[in-house]
Symmetry: C2
Subunit: 197 residues, 2 copies
């Protein structure tokens, strides 16, 4: 009994199921069958809506990245001043929605996907550039010419914390992650102040 207008619902279900399955299994070797089953439909239907497994993976990546982007934008919207804005970016990066076992697992595997699939690489590059530019906006007034180097360090550190989280036995602790990155940031900033003074 085909209800019309299923397409967006089915697609959303498949995208979610993809993230969950990749995260759960910790690998890109999930079958379309597994994903479709978790999303409550047949493999044929998954192919009907996405055409290929790769397209489904890319849609899942876009979804994760856009959720992250939205959360950062939301946090920035209510923050004034560079220091608070930096804080907002970090809190968004390690928010409960993003810093969750399955999402982190998916993230790691998206890095692997980017090794093979140009479009996946493009998406990750966009994410990295946007993060960098957000950081730079704040750092310019706080660290002057050292803003670029600090932004690079922060970006790598955030990714590294994610990577280690993917391997960690313990449950995620976003607050601790924010603290770790903030410690780095404060160290860099106070060193700049020391040099300037």
């Amino acid at each position: 009994m085909p209800k019309l207008g299923m397409e967006p619902i089915r697609k959303a279900a498949l995208v979610n199921a993809t993230i969950v399955e990749i995260g759960r299994s910790g690998s890109l070797d999930v079958t379309v069958g597994q994903i479709a089953r978790r999303a409550g439909m047949s493999t044929a239907l998954a192919h009907h809506y996405f055409g290929s497994k790769e397209a489904l993976f890319l849609a899942a990546m876009r979804h994760v990245l856009s959720l992250y982007g939205a959360e950062v934008r939301g946090a920035l919207g209510v923050s004034a001043g560079p220091a608070q804005r930096l804080n907002a970016i970090l809190r968004a990066s390690f928010s409960p929605a993003n810093f969750r076992a399955d999402v982190v697992g998916a993230w790691l595997n998206f890095y692997v996907l980017a090794q093979t699939v140009p479009e996946a690489r493009r998406l990750l590059n966009i994410y990295q550039r946007r993060l960098r530019s957000n950081l730079m906006d704040c750092l310019h007034s706080l660290a002057g010419t050292r803003a670029g180097a600090i932004a690079d360090g922060l970006g790598a550190l955030i990714d590294g914390v994610y990577l280690r989280e993917a391997l960690a036995a313990k449950p995620s602790d976003g607050a601790a992650a924010v603290q770790l990155v903030l410690a780095y940031l404060n160290a860099e900033l106070s060193q700049g102040a020391a040099n300037a003074g």
Copy 2:
């Protein structure tokens, strides 16, 4: 014409070929056939010596980790004083032998392997613990009670730089990587000094 004593030679060739193939293709989806061909033998022989693909992957991981470990030990052997020893660890981490496109690609995929294969996870945990303990030895005298936090940050930052390298378009620049991590380290240390003074 079977020359005797081939086992270690064949095994070494297979391990190298595994690292190269995983790095080159950027994925664990390399076939035993590809690896065996690159190592100059048949698939059957690869199975004969390693028994399974998984065992071959694990051997490749052990090899990468042991090369890294040896390089760190070598560098530490000729370094005196905590600051120089920290420097040695970082230089070894980003040495031309380790910080190379295919090795970095393999490293990334070993993280993925660790999601599924307990033995792979164990090996990575050993690497992380050894790195941390090496860093702590140096940091204890330089940063006192903050040594633990700084070691965690350094570990995550090193992994993050590796991760970003796996995505980078440009050729590896180990010197730049060392500089970036050193900047972090100096910032943390000088902040400690500032706080102390």
